[in-house]
Subunit: 335 residues, 2 copies
C-alpha cells in the first residue's frame, strides 16, 4: 500500500505512529505531511528509516492509496486544522486511516465524502463488535509466544516487538507481531486496540489476536501500559493473562524511576518489577522475564553501552537497545 | 423507593441481585415476581431478609415506584418471557431498572412506552459517557478505604462489602459502599459497572466513585473478579489501583482450588494469593490484606467454624463468614 502520513508540527519527535510506519511497515510512504518541516526530507531527520519528502499539505503529496493520521494528541481528539488534508485525501479517492479516540467515520462531512468518492474511513481503534470474555486458551497455541512488558508507558514495547520480529525474520524464522495498540495496528495492518475494548473483554480480545496469528511459529505480542501504573495496569494485566505468553521481555528507560505524568508514583527497580510480572503471570501461564530492552536514545554511545550492561546485570538476563545495537542475544534468550 | 423485583424461575438460589436488594437495600420491596414460587412469601425461603409476597406477574404486584430486573442470565440477555411484566410496569408508570448487558432503553417498544407514561428505563450497566483515565488521586481522600478482593468470581465480595458497611453502621460509624457491579449499584442506588467501561478508563471510573463518596468516613469498595483469573484480572487490577485502598479483605470459598468455569487454572493457596494482591498493590497504594471472609453456605455449623478458624490461621489475620457469624473482628482489623 502507498500511503501519505499526516504528522503536522510533531515530526519526528512526537509522531510515534508516523515513525513506526516509516521504520517497520511494508507500506511505501510517498510523503509525510508536516507544515513545520515541509521542504525537508524524512532522511534529514531520521537516517535509518525509509525516506520520503515532507510536504505542507495533502494537495502536494504524490498519488497514494491512503492517508494515515500519524500523530495522536493527548485525549485522542481530532485537530480541526487537519480537516482540509483529510477532505483532500477523500476527494482524491484515498482511504483515511486513523487511530484517534475520535472516530472519523462518525464525522458527518468525512462520512459523506467517503461515500461520494467510494473510499473507506478506517478507525483502527474501534474494537470489533463481537468481542467476549476470554476462554483461557491462548496458551494452547503451538507458536512460541513472547510478550513485551514495561516499567511504564512509552518505554519501547512497540519498538522492541517489531525489532524482535525483524531479527527473527533475518534468521529465516516465521515470526509475526500481534498488535494491541493503534500504531502496531497501522504498521501491521491488523490487530485490536485493547485499551479501547470493554474492560471485561480485554483479555478475550488479546486471546483472539494470539489465536488468529497462531499459524506462525513465533509471535511477538505488543504489550501496553505497565503492571504498576496507576491508570493503565488493567490493560497490562488483561494482555498478560489473555496472551498467556511463554516468555516476557522487560522494556525500560535508563534512570526512569517515577511514572511519567504520575511522578508521585515510584517505579520499582527493574529486577523487582520483573519479579512482579512473573508473580502475576505464574497462576495463568508461568512466563518468566527472559530478556531486557533499554531505550538509550538520550545517551551517548558509551553511556548507552554501560547502561545496557548494567541493566542486563540488574535483571540477570541478556539485554540490549534494539535500535542502537542488535537484538541477537535477546532473541536467543526468548526462543 | 418501593420496588417490585423480577426473579422468574430463579428465586432465591440464582437470583443474586434480588436477594442482594432484599438483604441490603433501603428500598421497600412490595413483591417478588417469580412464576415458579408464586403464592409463597420471601420469608418461606429466606428467613433473614425483608419479607414480601411472591406473585406471578406485575399485574398482581402492589403499587410501587419501580420494577427491578433481579436476575441476570449468562451473557446478560433479556428473556422475552419477561416482556409482559416490563410492559405492565411501564403502563403503570413504574420505572424499570436493569443490570443486563442488553440495554432496555434500546428496546423500541419499551422506549416508546416509557415516553408515553413518563417513566425511566434505567440501565445501570451503561457507563457514563464522560469517563477518562485515572489521575492517580483516590488515595488522597480522607475516608478510610477498604476493598474486598477474592480468589475467584462469586466468592462473596459484594456480600462482604455490605456486611462490613452494616457492621460499621451498627457502631454508629459513617460508612458507605462504593458499588462497582450491577447488583451493588441496584442496592445502593448509584455506582458504575466497572467491567463494562472502556478498559483504559476502568481505573479512572473507580477513582471517580471513591472520590464521589469521600464525604463518608469509611468506604467499603466492592471488588470484582480475581487477580489470577484468566479472563477478569484486568478489571480486578483496575479497581485495585483505581481505588488505592488502605486495606484489603480477602474473600474465599472453603476448599475452592480451581477457577470456576476455568478449572484447568489452579487457585493459589489463600496466603500466597493475599501476598499477590499486596505485591501488586504495593507500588500504587501499599494496602495489605488485613482480614478474610469465607462463604461457608455449603458447610454445617461445626464445619463452618473449623473452616473459618483454619482460613484465619492460613491468612494470619482475623476471618469470618459475615452472614453466618458476625463481622466484628474483621471490622476491627480493617479500621
Amino acid at each position: 500500500m502507498r500511503v501519505a502520513i499526516l504528522a503536522h508540527d510533531q515530526f519526528p519527535g512526537h509522531a510515534k505512529t508516523a515513525v513506526g510506519i516509516l521504520r517497520y511497515s511494508d507500506h511505501e510512504v510517498v510523503a509525510v505531511l508536516d507544515r513545520a518541516t515541509a521542504g525537508d526530507r524524512v532522511a534529514d531527520h531520521l537516517p535509518d528509516v525509509q525516506d520520503a519528502p515532507i510536504v505542507e499539505r495533502m494537495a502536494d503529496a504524490p498519488a497514494c492509496d491512503a492517508l494515515v493520521i500519524g500523530i495522536s494528541p493527548i485525549g485522542g481528539a481530532f485537530d480541526d486544522s487537519w480537516r482540509p488534508d483529510v477532505r483532500a485525501a477523500l476527494e482524491r479517492g484515498c482511504d483515511v486511516v486513523s487511530g484517534l479516540h475520535h472516530f472519523l467515520s462518525e464525522d458527518e462531512e468525512f462520512a459523506t465524502l467517503a461515500t461520494e468518492h467510494g473510499c473507506d474511513l478506517r478507525d483502527v481503534r474501534r474494537p470489533p463488535a463481537d468481542l467476549s470474555v476470554a476462554a483461557g486458551t491462548a496458551g494452547d497455541v503451538d507458536a512460541r509466544t513472547v510478550l513485551t512488558v514495561g516499567s511504564d508507558c512509552s518505554t519501547g514495547k512497540m519498538t522492541a516487538t517489531f525489532e524482535l520480529r525483524d531479527a527473527a525474520r533475518e534468521r529465516g524464522l516465521d515470526a509475526a507481531v500481534v498488535p494491541t495498540g493503534q500504531t502496531g495496528i497501522m504498521v501491521a495492518g491488523w490487530g485490536i486496540a485493547i485499551d479501547r475494548t470493554i474492560a471485561d473483554f480485554a483479555a478475550g480480545a488479546t486471546e483472539r489476536l494470539v489465536e488468529q496469528a497462531s499459524d506462525h511459529d513465533i509471535l511477538f505480542v505488543e504489550g501496553q501500559g505497565a503492571l504498576a501504573h496507576p491508570a493503565y495496569s488493567g490493560v497490562t494485566t488483561s494482555i498478560l493473562h489473555g496472551a498467556q505468553p511463554d516468555s516476557l521481555v522487560f522494556c525500560h528507560l535508563p534512570g526512569h524511576d517515577a511514572v511519567r505524568e504520575y511522578e508521585r508514583f515510584q517505579i520499582p527497580d527493574p529486577r523487582s518489577y520483573a519479579d512482579l510480572y512473573e508473580q502475576v503471570s505464574a497462576p495463568v501461564s508461568g512466563a518468566t522475564v527472559d530478556a531486557g530492552m533499554l531505550n538509550t536514545q538520550s545517551l551517548s554511545p558509551e553511556e548507552a553501552q554501560t547502561a545496557v550492561e548494567s541493566f542486563a546485570s540488574d535483571l540477570g538476563v541478556p539485554a540490549t537497545d534494539p535500535v542502537r545495537f542488535d537484538a541477537d542475544d535477546v532473541l536467543d534468550a526468548v526462543l
